[in-house]
Subunit: 226 residues, 3 copies
């Protein structure tokens, strides 16, 4: 997790990086923590483990660029949390998602944070209390992921999302992503107070003035960033 | 927007008005702001623009009567926000919804407020970060709208919702709509603290006493209002 | 309602009880309050009625064990609220759900609390403002319930959920259910602050150590509880 956090920060600070894709090398996206490291440790170990895991998830929201989960095989426990924490997620057909910690005596309490905010209460409780998996189509219908495609089209589907993002101004994407996570937990009045200021400020940027002018002149825009 | 705000207030204060339908005269429901007015203006212009737009959206929630968006063609940017901000929405088949500001350098940060609260995080981020449209059936499945019907049945579908509302007491509808928006952003305990008082008070109104009596006596109620 | 609250508390304190199923004896799950008791009463009656009803709903969330609504016939007004308030819900095909108070002058303002949190804004407002019912399949698609099965399979479907829960440690389920309702109304940062401590603490319990060891040793776990 510390390596992934460091990598995310490094990519996040690189102005040439327009989107970040989290993929996995093996047959699974992620099955979460390595239980072999988690038996009989002292209390400080567990606290640090979940502190670092939470930093990893919160780092994703704090980056300037969109982060896309590219998912295949299984995404369970903290692996399911990672999918939920990413801004966007694309899965191969056949992928299974679960929060199975309940079955091993360790309830998926940190995974429940982004999972319950993605899929709603009844569905989150079903995943959490039974530990049973759902398939990719169900994850799509529940709003946990954005696309399901045959495995051989996974690269292409992710590339399409990246290309859509890369066509826009990097500064604009950054302004919008930050505003999204700042407003999402506010009440509606607070969210408007925040975002109306964001839009007024965004309107005056070089890229917004260029983008609006280009649209009116029916020509492609030239961004100052990205 | 100022004309629409004034009209909404005028209708809202008219006791003969039971529901308000926002329709459009042209081929589109609304494509949002007029970009031609938004190039090279001074900072105060942009601040006022988004202040007034936010007042318009919040006015809809503050009215006594339900407000229904009757949507056809396209509903994009602040037009998509307007659909999300209405209490109910009915769309013609073929309607497309988008928050495409990202493509012109001006992220749809105020539209994200009601859109993200209607469709959830992953779907809102997909709309916002790609700027790509969804069709009416997808908007229905995502909870952005309540009905999709063939264009020639749009009048009838809206009329059915209006008729359902108009059969009930105007005072009851007003009590309920206000309670809805007051409780929706509270935590569950706070929401119950508020609404149990609302229900106790509502129970003692003339219309509730009449409505319950009529139900028990198997006769139609006669409302004091509406 | 007072009998149900007392029964819930009694079952909740019984360590042999692993899940609680709320069923009904008659042809309906519940049509809510008895209107025959609600005409012409003094103000204190109504306040107490909705206070007690709210205590009943909040008791469900506060119990150590998952509570499952087993629903058939109709679930309307406070009966629909009860379904929404349960942790999980299974319905027979043909069940109808509604918040029809608007039709009798008494808006379903307390039912709106869990219903709007389960199905989202536009769908909740449609139910509340029109009072019209939805069928079980729609309730499933909207996230109000977890399963729809033919009436003759209702016992079996509920038993499957109970069995899935009973396979896990009672302490683990209790830790997780409490964390779920504590975190659900916090902002995401607050939810992580809470749940990362819950997981660190949960990791050190006898059942988590046993569950992780059993998983690694490919043997069934033996729980200290449940």
């Amino acid at each position: 997790m510390e390596e992934l956090i460091a990598t995310l920060h490094r990519l996040g600070e690189d102005p040439g990086v327009r989107a970040i894709v989290i993929d996995s090398a093996g047959p699974a996206f992620s099955a979460g923590h390595d239980l072999g490291e988690m038996i009989g440790r002292d209390p400080g170990f567990y606290q640090e483990l979940f502190d670092v895991c939470t930093v990893m998830m919160e780092t994703i929201h704090g980056l300037r660029q969109p982060v896309i989960a590219k998912v295949h095989g299984i995404a369970t426990a903290a692996g399911c949390q990672l999918v939920a924490a990413c801004d966007l997620a694309v899965a191969a057909e056949g992928t299974r998602f679960a929060t199975p910690g309940v079955k091993i005596g360790l309830f998926c309490s940190t995974p429940m944070v982004p999972v319950s905010r993605a899929v709603g209460r009844k569905r989150a409780l079903e995943l959490l209390l039974t530990g049973e998996p759902i398939d990719a189509q169900t994850a799509l219908e529940w709003g946990l992921i954005n696309r399901v495609v045959p495995a051989e089209q996974l690269d292409e589907a992710v590339a399409e999302l990246v290309a859509a993002i890369a066509r826009s101004s990097a500064d604009t994407i950054s302004i919008g992503k930050r505003a999204f996570y700042e407003q999402i937990d506010l009440d509606e009045g607070g969210a408007y107070d925040l975002t109306k200021g964001v839009m007024a400020s965004n309107s005056q940027t070089v890229d917004a003035q260029e983008g609006m002018s280009a649209f009116l002149e029916k020509r492609p825009p030239t961004w100052s960033s990205g």
